[in-house]
Symmetry: C2
Subunit: 247 residues, 2 copies
Amino acid sequence: VKQNKYDDPAFFEAYGQLLRSRAGLAGAGEWHAFRALLPDLRGRRVLDLGCGFGWHCRYARKQGARAITGVDLSERMLARAREMTIGSGILYVQCAIEDIQFDPGSFDIVLSSLAFHYVERFDLLAARVHRWLAEEGKFIFSVEHPIFTASQAGQDWWRSPEGQILHWPVDAYQAEGVRSTNWLADNVVKYHRTVATYVNSLLDAGFRLDRLLEPEPDPGLLRDRPDWQDETRRPMFLILAASKDQL
Amino acid sequence: VKQNKYDDPAFFEAYGQLLRSRAGLAGAGEWHAFRALLPDLRGRRVLDLGCGFGWHCRYARKQGARAITGVDLSERMLARAREMTIGSGILYVQCAIEDIQFDPGSFDIVLSSLAFHYVERFDLLAARVHRWLAEEGKFIFSVEHPIFTASQAGQDWWRSPEGQILHWPVDAYQAEGVRSTNWLADNVVKYHRTVATYVNSLLDAGFRLDRLLEPEPDPGLLRDRPDWQDETRRPMFLILAASKDQL
């Protein structure tokens, strides 16, 4: 299933209202943690899988990356990305993450932010990214945390009859596969996977794991957002950093 | 806090009734996954941290390990371990995991089964184990899964008013530290840690991560235990395997 909700006008409109869409990386609660894992980008060839509005691509350009490729399935998102991208240096490509192909050793760094939970087979993807990376290349990505996606009840908090948040309900953790949610729109298809599958798929592809993060939201953003105060009660995101070893 | 509940007669009695205490490794739901991560033990020096009744030590001896050391804080457990150990080849040492010291390079393989959630500082422990291992040594251990220990409600399922299991309640995931539970006895002190802390403590100590498992119970045991049918709804155990690189 390669659902393209981001080209659905209502979904696109709702997505555009999120703080992360309006404020970019500065409005993304996990960016402080993600950025800390990035190597020096100067002179490097960078690929962003699921680039959306192109925030990470433009950040890479600002940091002096030599060549930047952003891939996304959504025509609307890429149109907006191009609008916001002044000057050249970034190649935007419209394609599903599952379908795109590159030559071996094409990139030094492959990034992805909150896109892979839309991809059915992470094991196949990890093997492809490993081929596309040069020796000592880095792969850094975030996904919705398996604790988050394991919730069966519409991926929402469990509340008291009075509406108070009680806890986060985890269920069917071992049952990997499609979870239909109502995030921003009805029937958004996401794939639940275990932490083990994310990590072991990287290891099986030949990566060395460098870091596993379950970040709390940026303390600065947390201060300004009373509606985020419960975000420390369960991890929302999982961030993994891995390296392709020298041969 | 180095609580020694296993020398509390009531706790010890209750622990002795568990399937894993009566049947040994064959009665431990995660043993099939743990065993699959063990390297060839023949001729190797093996340390078991929190050896309890000595099941893993005797398994290592059966597999041809050259020297086996079992460490446990509980006098009662070690007494039982010695009773069940016929012949020599295993050195049982009574000491807290936090206090024991060995010379650098003393072991080829360090194991631990469901003991480290009683240890306050896993980062310090990981660094010590790294020193005790010879080059290319292996460190394989299981702990209660952070999803399991993150439950605030006495580490139990969330149930309907009629008593039916609804889901597993996760809360205060980011708040690492003491969780008091009533497992087998009142006020058993365990330490909750995130998956990230377990993994990154290994990486920071210099280990390479080889595997991360969140095993479902052994299918054979699951068939015989109607009371285990909900065990696939949330992971109970986390198993990590790591290597000390060649210098």
